[in-house]
Symmetry: C2
Subunit: 267 residues, 2 copies
């Protein structure tokens, strides 16, 4: 039994990362994880999925998870593309979209003519030199360049191996243009707060469960939440000795996290 | 007459950037620049071409310049690929080469099997997601990842507009892997020093002429050289008010720089 389990006392709400936690989580998983979600959602705990997924629209993401057997609906997901759309509308920004085709539908209502900013997301194969250079040229033409990045993750894990995420490409444009991007998504405090608001839970009553020691664990802790790291997905053993971030607990996978939560949260 | 011209007194050697100075230098240029090089090489001043060009081999670069009418030979050029090859050999490194096909011949003698480092250069269109991810995966497999970057320029100017240089992609891999690249090329002091050695001139007797306020001007000044910025190539008016670097002088183009040098250097 994890000796730190008692740190979960008083938890009322749970934020769950998706990639690396629910799927692409390495060996094991599968049936056990579907059962864990099922149990969690039938407990007294409020649950919200809080993802930086920016290759797929929420509809596509939820469809994929449901096909994998997970009981999840679109309304339970906080993801960066809708948050970015709200910012674009509020500030009258017309983006050049350096994004994956899978997430383009989230921007259907956004005017992209004569761009006055760049939105960058996990574009995968669309991170061609040509597309990066287009984004760069848009930014260099602007008097006050605005670069909005959906997350700033370094990499994620697919079955085929580690894959570059949006963060490295965000850094590339920051350096090229001498600017600083605005990050929408984890670890931005606004993003965690909007996920907590959606379930009506205060930060000190909530725990984040994720595979990213910096983006999930560190980000949530800076917002006053507790945070567990799962040893799945992009987890690496060195994360448990990270120089700056220490999780409240480390679990082998989501199923172990849910067991501990159901046992300790009410105490 | 430039009032700062007298700062050129005592100059014995001249290092010349190529791209943005000899060509891709915007309007004007052409015949005047070829004449300037001709005059310079027939003066008492020692001349060395000091370039971060990493898309082309020296042979290809010199061939192109000769076709443009410039009197230049391969032996007069200091460029980063040969410097990198020397480092690779000295340290027994076998690189994954994230480079442009045009410069691949410079690495003909280098063992690239079972890579234990990454060499990144201005790869242009070869900066695909796939190639970047290959380099990333090589680095993440290494216990002590070594990333060697041929220059760290932000961008350069082609006739068609500003183009991303190697620097942004170097930054992307640095961030993705949590490492720091070793830069071979300007503004590395070793690189400037090897160019000075080639003409037997001390730093305090030399002037660098380039279009890059940070890489050319700032880098040369940190080595104890004087440095002029040309208002061609990637020059932007804001460079003359750069927060950290102030050139010893600004000239409209290489021809003006050479005029001033021939007039003041001997005094």
């Amino acid at each position: 039994m994890a000796p730190w389990g008692k740190r979960l006392a008083g938890v009322r709400g749970v934020l769950l990362d998706i990639s690396g936690v629910l799927y692409d989580s390495g060996a094991g998983g599968g049936h056990g994880l579907r059962g864990a979600i099922w149990q969690l959602k039938r407990s007294r705990l409020k649950v919200r999925f809080c993802t930086n997924e920016s290759q797929k629209s929420r509809a596509e993401l939820v469809g994929q998870l449901r096909r994998l057997g997970f009981d999840i609906s679109e309304g339970e997901v906080t993801s960066p593309a809708p948050a970015a759309c709200q910012i674009l509308k509020e500030r009258g920004l017309r983006p050049y979209l350096l994004i994956h085709d899978g997430v383009r539908s989230e921007f259907d209502q956004i005017d992209t003519s004569n761009p006055n900013c760049v939105v960058i997301a996990d574009a995968g194969e669309s991170f061609s030199y040509q597309n990066m250079n287009n984004a760069f040229q848009v930014l260099m033409e602007l008097e006050k360049p605005v670069l909005i990045s959906l997350g700033k993750g370094r990499y994620y894990k697919e079955t085929s191996g580690l894959m570059l995420d949006v963060g490295p490409y965000m850094k590339a444009l920051e350096y090229a243009c001498g600017i600083k991007a605005e990050v929408v998504g984890k670890p931005s405090p606004e993003f965690f707060k909007s996920a907590l608001q959606a379930i009506g839970v205060e930060a000190h009553q909530a725990v984040m469960i994720g595979d990213d020691i910096v983006g999930d664990v560190g980000g949530a802790q800076r917002c006053g939440m507790r945070a567990l790291q799962v040893r799945t997905g992009k987890f690496r053993p060195s994360d448990e000795h990270h120089p700056e971030v220490k999780a409240d607990g480390y679990v082998d996978n989501l199923a172990e996290a849910v067991d501990l939560l159901l046992q300790h949260a009410d105490k």
